[in-house]
């Protein structure tokens, strides 16, 4: 026994120096690159991490003395992670910001971006989404996202419904009913795969009925102390439609399930999402979306001008905490928005629709993206406002209230009352009044 112990100790003594050396050698390269400037990039979209890495690699090859460190945190934890970065004094240089409430929180740390070339190219309609309350521009939109119904064209074809012919709410309801009547032959679980478990999808759906009111002025939407009910009748109608024709139990359908199981396998005709589902679907089968995926807008005006809502959920900002890094941060963002090779990665691999003016649509890889760019640049285009709702409104107020309504646990009047009150209350508390 005693011998064994001694042997063990001896072994440790022999091994330890090697371990220490191994640790040291692993670290040493970084000390040699001290002359390099290291920029920190905080990303809140985990699904595009590898593509950002690729962009960074390309950029670093051109600028050997720059190193860009990508930090990714998302899935609901991003905002909290960003805050902890700031409060620990390690503010990232390039920050992905989600909406004006987040911009407002860090406004004292954000650089004015007015003269950047990336900004000059931004679609004018999207600029107000990157501004502080007193209209100081601090953010560049990441991409152009479309909000509406993502439809399975194959199911529509088999049901004999032409999605392009649907021009108003009545026709939409008719199409839904027609598909529903053939549910069993088509092997559908429901017409809609509404992911009632996710408060985020409910919130972005609500934007279909609130965005018109603000006429693309995101700062106005952010300042507002009331929730606009102008289109409540239509909102109610859509919710009833979803309640009746969606997969049940409606509150147990989750985001991933609705896309990868229900929608991809043709068990539902529509899901309440946007073009961000393209990479997931094409990841399951190459070019799946090309023939199978289309989009339909919500019909809220019924005058033939109803279109998909298009806007950017995320904006890139630059922090002013580290003045020596600002120039490189700006250069990197300008490069991402103007150079052809960066754009190619963005449109072909991230499958983003660029939020910039005068983009040649022929370069976009699929029809849905082309359509979105067209809608997004038309003069009637409307930006969704759900990112400007007060902090917590999505997950704690409108999401849960609509969920209650969908399962009949609250009346419409009560929903309206609670949503209005809480909107006002959250807004007041958060603006420090």
């Amino acid at each position: 026994m005693q011998k064994l112990k001694r042997l063990l100790v001896l072994l440790l003594v022999i091994v330890t120096p090697f371990l220490l050396v191994a640790c040291k050698s692993a670290k040493s390269p970084s000390s040699q690159t001290d002359k390099k400037v290291t920029i920190n990039f905080f990303n809140q979209k985990p699904e595009i991490t590898s593509q950002y890495q690729k962009l960074i690699k390309i950029y670093q090859k051109k600028h050997p003395n720059v190193s860009i460190q990508l930090t990714t945190s998302g899935q609901g934890g991003g905002a909290a992670a960003l805050q902890s970065k700031f409060s620990s004094g390690e503010a990232p240089d390039i920050i992905m910001l989600g909406g004006l409430p987040e911009i407002d929180r860090y406004k004292d740390h954000l650089l004015t971006l007015k003269n950047m070339s990336a900004v000059k190219n931004t679609l004018p309609r999207l600029i107000s989404g990157g501004m502080t309350e007193n209209h100081r521009l601090v953010g560049v939109p990441v991409d152009l996202e479309a909000y509406g119904w993502v439809i399975n064209k194959d199911v529509f074809r088999k049901a004999g419904v032409d999605p392009d012919s649907i021009k108003n709410y009545a026709e939409f309801v008719q199409a839904v009913k027609k598909i529903d009547a053939q549910k069993d032959e088509l092997g559908l679980q429901g017409v809609f795969g509404f992911n009632g478990a996710d408060t985020n999808s409910i919130t972005s759906m609500s934007a279909q009925f609130t965005s018109d009111y603000y006429q693309n002025d995101q700062v106005k939407a952010f300042d507002s102390k009331k929730f606009p009910w102008e289109k409540e009748q239509r909102m109610k109608q859509y919710l009833h439609l979803v309640k009746q024709y969606s997969v049940k139990p409606i509150l147990s359908v989750k985001y991933d399930e609705s896309i990868q199981d229900l929608f991809y396998n043709g068990e539902v005709a529509m899901i309440p999402q946007g073009n961000w589902v393209i990479p997931t679907l094409d990841g399951l089968q190459d070019n799946w979306t090309k023939d199978n995926m289309g989009m339909l807008p919500y019909f809220t005006k019924d005058d033939g001008t109803d279109e998909l809502l298009t806007g950017s959920s995320w904006y890139l900002g630059i922090s002013n905490d580290n003045p020596s890094h600002q120039k490189i941060a700006k250069d990197f963002i300008n490069w991402m928005y103007s150079s052809k090779e960066a754009q190619d990665v963005i449109i072909n691999e991230m499958r983003f629709v660029p939020a910039t003016k005068n983009f040649n649509t022929d370069r976009l890889p699929d029809d849905v993206s082309k359509e979105i760019y067209q809608v997004g640049t038309s003069k009637n285009a409307i930006t969704p406002v759900h990112k400007q709702y007060p902090n917590g409104f999505a997950n704690e107020v409108i999401g849960p209230m609509v969920q209650r309504y969908l399962v009949g646990k609250t009346s419409w009047d009560n929903l309206k009352k609670v949503v209005s009150n809480q909107y006002k209350q959250l807004k007041e508390v958060q603006s420090g009044q």
Binding site: Q83, L251, G392, E396, V429
Partner: protein, 284 residues
């Protein structure tokens, strides 16, 4: 004997960590609870947070839910834990020893993972059962208020019972063999032995187990997050989750701190009361 400087040398690192990690944040938390902090900037607003708290429907609801949950879980966990302990101490053979391990395993799995496992069971496995057996009540457990609550209780009981079982086992094994043999000679049945001989000697075990389960169920967070994330419609949002969401989703950190202080006071009070009565029970 330790010299005085050696004595301080030993406790100093621990004390430094306790001050740095517990005491200082605790005090700064109390200070924050009087401000409208959003994590970046703060202003002193006095007792307003506390005032608002007692009118906040969501706070009161999640507090009441946590209370209900704690009562149900404490009873169930101790009951199940005790039954487990009695089963595995009944006879000392390989079968019971294997059982002991099996009962304890859930406790080795982390809370988040457990949450996801049970989420799969409640949604997918239950759904498959309901489709194949035609039992509709098995469908959509996590999308309903009541079954969502019981889902949490089941998960937590499943996780904690094995741990509490260990406490009971150690106390059951400490009961002198001769008193058990004496009761056997006197012709006591199994049940009589349990109620009249074993149970009274388990009083200190109850004190420990009740304290552990009570404190743990009041603090429950990660199981809640992974299993239901408060859903459906915030009906299973317990107090810890309410605090986290207020602080890191709403960014009302002053308000969240005030809630945290209230939780602290309540848990401390409940634990003291429970300890007081349990100790009293032990003595008599």
């Amino acid at each position: 004997m330790l010299k005085k400087h050696q004595y301080y040398g030993f406790i100093l690192p621990a004390v430094a960590f306790i001050i740095g990690i517990i005491i200082i944040p605790f005090i700064s938390g109390i200070i924050d609870s009087f401000t409208n902090s959003n994590g970046i900037s703060r202003q002193f607003i006095g007792l307003k947070n506390y005032q608002l708290l007692f009118q906040d429907y969501n706070f009161l609801q999640s507090f009441w839910l946590t209370f209900k949950f704690s009562v149900v879980s404490v009873v169930l966990i101790n009951l199940v834990g005790l039954v487990f302990a009695l089963i595995v101490t009944h006879k000392d053979n390989w079968f019971n020893n294997t059982l002991k391990t099996i009962f304890f395993i859930p406790n080795l799995v982390g809370g988040v993972l457990l949450g996801f496992i049970w989420q799969f069971i409640f949604t997918n496995a239950f759904k498959a059962l309901s489709v194949n057996l035609g039992q509709n009540w098995l469908n959509g457990w996590l999308s309903d208020e009541t079954t969502g609550f019981w889902g949490l209780v089941i998960l937590f009981t499943w996780q904690m019972s094995g741990y509490i079982m260990l406490v009971y086992i150690s106390f059951l094994n400490a009961i002198p063999k001769n008193s058990l043999e004496a009761s056997l000679l006197d012709g006591a049945s199994e049940l009589q032995t349990f109620f009249n001989v074993k149970l009274p000697q388990l009083a200190p075990a109850f004190t420990i187990s009740l304290f552990l389960t009570l404190a743990n169920s009041f603090k429950l967070y990660e199981q809640n997050l992974a299993l239901t994330n408060g859903g459906p419609y915030r009906s299973t949002e317990m107090i810890s989750m309410y605090i986290y969401n207020t602080a890191f989703v709403n960014f009302q950190q002053g308000y969240a701190q005030a809630t945290g202080i209230i939780l602290f006071v309540v848990v401390a009070l409940a634990s003291f009361i429970q300890l007081y009565f349990s100790r009293k029970g032990e003595r008599s």
